[in-house]
Symmetry: C4
Subunit: 246 residues, 4 copies
């Protein structure tokens, strides 16, 4: 098998094996992430833990072969190894390779790194590119709004700290503690673990919510409108290529 | 009465009886669902339970006659029986027919299947078609976003499990348990039954919310914009048919 | 003073007194609603309750004079009395007139009817008309979505009742009880007084939220887009009247 | 150094030092706000409190020098002192200058005023101007909706007070108390500290939520659409200036 043919198969472009290979790898990725999730369940019977470990070893073997094949067949090997996908492919196998022989429960954090193999899926989904383009086209606005959101959160946290600190010294213990309240409230999640009880704090919260929800909601609308104008542009491009009229 | 006339009445197309029949069936559907809801109330007096059972038997008799008439009058009988509406019509009567003579409280699940008769309403509402068309036109995007949402939920659940598992081993017992937190938080429902308490978990939650709300909100905007462009297209179609200029 | 002049003053059209009168009445409306709110506070000192009662009597006297003047000056008296504003004007004074001499605390419900005098404000705000027009232009869609929302709420309540009734017989006692959960969850309010605890109920809730949020969010987008197209139309109308080009 | 050159440096327009100075001041602003936040943490060790006090004194010295330089170099000194930025610059230094020598913990409120120095950042972010323009273009609508929102909140609070006051005299003690519930519910925050328990209150809440969410959500859409049309206008302006065709 030539390097060029191998590269085509791995990229899903090969006419006879490309599609089969892509579907197989995607299935393995999803199954292995389901296995990681089941692994974290408490009180798993021993046979299940053993089975999951076995499955993980099989998966990592496949991913290792895939990684080696990708490095071997890459037109520019160094460039692949240091590309985003190269790093993701390596991170998918490294934790298990490093942990072979160790007590798995001792290194929980390292094992969780394996969920990053979900990003291997991104390679196969063309639609992610459109999403990425839509995000990029509103990036400048999003950065400004992230800054604005941070300032608003900080000011709201300072104000509620001023109002509530005396009444609830545990919950609103400091400005950083109050930031948690500000995030949970301004995103309207509202867990109910922190809320104002003084009249001043409640009036401030009410006015703040009515004003700030507008500001938080703007980037949402921006992404949505950018994405739909992206679709219009693509549709027009298709029509022009066909030589037809809209 | 001919099969053709019967078919026209059942479809609501018959000039003299179609409309009356349609309104009558819709009223019966709504009333019978209200009856099912009342039936589930605890501590109903005996006379109410008996009355609801009697009403249910009357409703099922009517629906059975309707089903037989629909099968009899259908241009292609097999096709109707296996169509979506044919199955819905059958599911509306089957549970009660099967349960006659049994203690109703023993087969709660089967009795609840009866609420599916609400779907019989869909036949009469033209606007559902427009809604269905709008959904279909953004289906590809919605599938991509459903996939993206699943990946985001899984990654967020893994991260919060990493941060919170030690501090709250009951609530964040595993990645599947943490998925519940991720869904409730990212949809901003925020029941308050699970929330991070560690500094790391809270900072992660705050950053995650600000980023992810944008992604979750996009399909919403897509459906809304598709639906309104659908209205524009229909309005233009009407105008062209009238021979007028916009 | 002629009936015509009086009518002009009451409508705010009179060049010398119309504006003054309108501002005065609006101020009285807002102040009297604030007074009603303060009146409901528990543990008011006696002097405050007496002062609020005195203020209310003054307000009702003014509104009574206004009502009599409006009836007297109306071009068509019967039509005014039975118009929406005529009924609102009457409801603003009737409770207090009926309650004079009675112990106010015994008829709480009747006293609260007085907050309806807020609707007297609507007469003075031109922008409410634009809002009303925008709502009317999407009314058909909103009715369809209200119906769809009811069906979705009912089906979700039935499903969660099926999943959770055995685990939490108090909270999910029946389908009507579960409707409360469905409303609170699908609007993403999430008080935290009712939430699923079984695995089945939680998986259903997660899937339901991701699907249904789109449907609930659509009417919102419809009103917003209708309102902004309304603005565009008005702006174009203004330009055409000015004889200019857009 | 001339007054003109100093003014150019302070405004960030000076070719050699302007940019450096702007970045330095922005960094100091952000760091000093982080320091204020850390200062509020309970149980800080003594060395940290001392360090933060020292840092604050350094920051205030820099800001004082900046303020004096701005006053000195301003083309119209009085106008700068009484401009928004002049007041913000003064408020950034005044609390610390006044508090030197006093026990800082006694005057918490005054110390918190220092977070207003965040507004000094606004001077450097051009995008705030676009945001401000977008807000101004929908200001009239926002004011109307703020009024409408207040009326809706008041009416909802009155209704829930009527339904729930007897069942929960503590939580729904009065209309102002119920306003807190109305704000938390209609913004879908839903802390869970106040919710209806009677059947009437719950049915009212459900209907209210389905209707009112549309009204609350409208201003959001208005700001978003105004902001994106603002972008379109700017893009067109750029193209025309380039002499090209769109």
């Amino acid at each position: 098998m030539t390097r060029v043919r191998m590269h085509a198969i791995l990229d899903g472009d090969d006419p006879s094996w490309g599609r089969t290979f892509a579907v197989a790898i995607q299935t393995i990725i999803v199954l292995s992430c389901v296995a990681i999730a089941i692994e974290t369940l408490p009180d798993n019977p021993l046979w299940l833990d053993r089975g999951l470990l076995g499955f993980e070893l099989v998966v990592v073997s496949i991913f290792t072969v895939e990684y080696v094949a990708r490095v071997w067949s890459a037109p520019n090997r160094l460039r692949y190894v240091f590309s985003v996908f190269g790093v993701v492919d390596l991170l998918s196998i490294l934790p298990t390779l490093l942990l072979v022989g160790y007590d798995l429960h001792a290194l929980r954090a390292l094992r969780l790194v394996r969920v990053l193999r979900l990003f291997k899926l991104v390679r196969y989904v063309k639609a992610f590119e459109r999403l990425a383009r839509a995000f990029r086209s509103v990036l400048a606005e999003l950065v400004v709004f992230a800054g604005l959101a941070s300032i608003v959160l900080f000011l709201c946290a300072s104000a509620i700290y001023w109002f509530e600190n005396e009444a609830q010294p545990e919950v609103f213990a400091s400005i950083p503690h109050s930031m948690w309240w500000a995030v949970v409230t301004l995103t309207t999640v509202g867990y109910g673990d922190a809320y104002p009880v003084t009249a001043g704090g409640r009036i401030f919260t009410g006015v703040m919510l009515l004003i700030a929800l507008g500001i938080i909601a703007v980037p949402t609308g921006l992404v949505a409108s950018a994405l739909s104008s992206e679709r219009v542009r693509e549709a027009e491009g298709d029509r022009e290529r066909d030589g037809g009229r809209p």
